[in-house]
Symmetry: C2
Subunit: 282 residues, 2 copies
Amino acid sequence: MPELASVNGVVTPIEEATVPIEDRGYQFGDAVYEVIASYGGRLLAFEAHLQRLTRSMKALAFAPMPLDSLRGAVVGLFERAEIARAAVYLQVSRGVAPRNHAYGAAMDPQIVITVREVVEKPAELRERGAAVITVPDERWQRCDIKTVQLVPNAMAKQKALDAGAFDAIFISREGEVREGTSSNLFAVRDGCLITHPLTPNILPGITRRLVLDICRRERLTVEERIFLEDDLFAADEVFLCGTITEVLPVAAVDGQPIGDGGAGAITKRLYDGLLALAVGTG
Amino acid sequence: MPELASVNGVVTPIEEATVPIEDRGYQFGDAVYEVIASYGGRLLAFEAHLQRLTRSMKALAFAPMPLDSLRGAVVGLFERAEIARAAVYLQVSRGVAPRNHAYGAAMDPQIVITVREVVEKPAELRERGAAVITVPDERWQRCDIKTVQLVPNAMAKQKALDAGAFDAIFISREGEVREGTSSNLFAVRDGCLITHPLTPNILPGITRRLVLDICRRERLTVEERIFLEDDLFAADEVFLCGTITEVLPVAAVDGQPIGDGGAGAITKRLYDGLLALAVGTG
């Protein structure tokens, strides 16, 4: 079960994989990506990830690429790595060209894929919930496009760890609760779920969508609407969701406990629902 | 006079230079850069560029790096390339590590340098002035840090070219004039120069600073203050400035001519002043 990388189809150990310095992903952050998780050798929501990647590429006017070739490249490396519980990282950059802001006519997109074993979160974190901090959202205004321009996310995540927390939540200058550094966020109050609507300010999360599907099936009320930091503190439950995050309870925000401080009943139900989907029994 | 690249001191032709896919510059845009121009074999404002790079690295909490080693790396490659009129590109990324938003303890910064011949702008563009378009500023809120997160800049530049213009000017949602995609901007009205003050929303341009120095010496009045799109249209002269841009007159904004539509007297004077500085006679 080797961890592997592929750069335009050339397969190597991850540490040996390289790209040209003039790959625009390196000099302009001009690349988009997806992270796809497998459970028991099966990729969860693979088509939805490919669709979102295509949307990101289109938003940045990358040269179009047949979905079949992307799909084949991912499946090929995933099968070769033989890792049942894998995180597949798929990055597509606009291409390689002498450095120039303008990208002109179509260039060949570069495809980089890695397959790694997922490091599971500690059971205690899943049971007791995570502490998070809030940070001002200083990101660009197109966070719906999943680019590798992740410096503010990296800085916020590190700030959270340095503060002894697990993650940071981006808050707009109007006080609106947006999302985590690599996850979306839901709050629960009086049995009703609230999450930021799909706007250019948040990522259209695949796990967010799976959670919404489970809510519909289980007849849980959900409001996709803007809500404020104060609503977060008043919530009975808060959770983060994402491909690797799955559904993760938030126990405290900026040191203030949320609800009873552990994993709430609805959060647990949605986590179980997601895992059931993932292993094909949901 | 070969065009050369150096990756952590290993010198190759530019096309052959590579970096690991897990260089954080590639997966997180977690890298900062400078472009330095030489005139007659002499690097202009080299120390100011190194200082700004250090400031960018510090703002992102990169591991500190002795300025001497950076200086030596650039000078070494520049001298080896023997290009009198060169554009030296210097990119420092946080380091190489298995993909993870958090960067934890210090890692070794990666140093990539290229030295290329400068392609001079057509004389006609310098004489008649450039057409520019305006675009909404959707960039992140720390444009004072010179990172490689340049997707909005690349998109705006390409949009300008597609519209038959030379560059795009970022306008805030409040209508404030910020800067070009790789340059700062000055407007001139009634003999007084106006430019955006140094805030987190614009790059603290080295050429901007050289222009301000020339203005002081030549007793030209300058106001560093916020100004609006309307002020741009009412200006007698507008120009862009930057390391490769130098001082470039703007003849039209969104199709509306500025002043008499060519290079204005003050713009010409500042261009001449900058070139005199560059060749060591100013």
